[in-house]
Symmetry: D2
Subunit: 151 residues, 4 copies
Amino acid sequence: MAAFQPADPHYQDRVRESFDKQGLMKTLGAELTAAGPGFCEIRMPYGEGLTQQHGFFHAGGLAAIVDTAGGYAGFTLFDETDGILTVEFKVNLVAPATGEAVIARGEVIRPGRTLTVTKGEVVSVVDGEEKVCALMQQTLMRIVNRPDVVG
Amino acid sequence: MAAFQPADPHYQDRVRESFDKQGLMKTLGAELTAAGPGFCEIRMPYGEGLTQQHGFFHAGGLAAIVDTAGGYAGFTLFDETDGILTVEFKVNLVAPATGEAVIARGEVIRPGRTLTVTKGEVVSVVDGEEKVCALMQQTLMRIVNRPDVVG
Amino acid sequence: MAAFQPADPHYQDRVRESFDKQGLMKTLGAELTAAGPGFCEIRMPYGEGLTQQHGFFHAGGLAAIVDTAGGYAGFTLFDETDGILTVEFKVNLVAPATGEAVIARGEVIRPGRTLTVTKGEVVSVVDGEEKVCALMQQTLMRIVNRPDVVG
Amino acid sequence: MAAFQPADPHYQDRVRESFDKQGLMKTLGAELTAAGPGFCEIRMPYGEGLTQQHGFFHAGGLAAIVDTAGGYAGFTLFDETDGILTVEFKVNLVAPATGEAVIARGEVIRPGRTLTVTKGEVVSVVDGEEKVCALMQQTLMRIVNRPDVVG
């Protein structure tokens, strides 16, 4: 991964403030656990309210946190006055997600003036061991002078 | 759309029973509003617990219901003893999702012995008018003799 | 499909002129067979130079013509001075492509100031009968004042 | 990347033999330049027959070689009697592809009994320097006892 230089030195506050306003992340019990230049990590502990019919994590919940992790990964590199939109994302579900929590990590692959491309993964944590359960590729759009419009 | 003939005459009960076990759909307040041969519709009324930071529906919630709608669209055509997995899906977010509710519709494009391809869309309902806000393409996998394993 | 109103009355000439400059389409023996508002069709007759190792049409050739059909579907709705780029596309290969020719059709789902979303399909023609072999979802980007920059 | 152990010690011969039968790769002037366990590289020198209308490499050509590179990356890990199909792939085009050649690299992320997930990239080579121009995520399917059915 290339080393990125954030345009806004206060990008961490900006990311956290925005994340805290997302009702869905609260509903899912998802926490922002790390944000760095071009990087974001979100953790979601297991709960019965997150399951599909067999008690595994529902793919829709994994998609929600990895979309968000990719979006904020891009957002770390934006100017203070920029907003961000998810244009599209694609997710492959490669293993059933079980365990005490899942962790989504997004990272910027290609930052751009208008469009930014990220990749992401979700790992499940079983007895402290991580196992990949989902892979994502995502396109983000910068909205100039409309701060903090995420997905 | 081609007309599909369900292998299992009780497919509607099977879909509903499975849907009712999904903790995430309950958490999101999503309801199964229709299921037909190769088709499924899910409705999610607006709530503050479903938002991104500006009060719109979060893309992750839209992804969750359209993945589920596509999955059950495929499931309607399966044998009684088959399970189903989402292999992957891709979603384009084409407009901000506002309004009193969103409705996800999934339909089978190409049923198959092992893999089934579906498409889906999410519309937002604003003053009773529908407006497309997301488009999906999805791959499902049939799991023989393991009934009801959805994504 | 919605009815679209082209901004440029000479869009057909513009599409054809651009298509004729694409070296790859010539190499593949692909012909532009139709263009309408928000729509484009490309035909590629079978040849040994288009195959994978079993003599079927190679998926890469199908991807090339359906990407192009989607791109020009979007291009029909652009201003005379706009260029176009493929941002991304996703293709599902749903059946082996055999027969005397394949036909790719692209259509605009959601036109936009900056981004346009299209869908596409490829059918194979066997004894005059069409059979779907690939499905596409695509994002295009308008490049203002740089005419005719296609992906 | 995890280290993979090929099931078939002669996987390199098997990949090369299959690649040499692909008419499309010949037509595009593409060469197989490397194959390792879970990895494949394909190089395509510039030619006027590979262009879009402005003389850059056409996105369709990039898609064709990165699909093939991902497919053979998966194929390296298969049994001698297995065939392979591309189920779907998604490609983001992140920069115009210019220069003396493009190189596609595919690698297996998640091998599986039935489905295998790969990622890929295409770099353009300009004065000997590589620059990423496309990113791919792909799903492959193993066809048991039908050797060498690629894409």
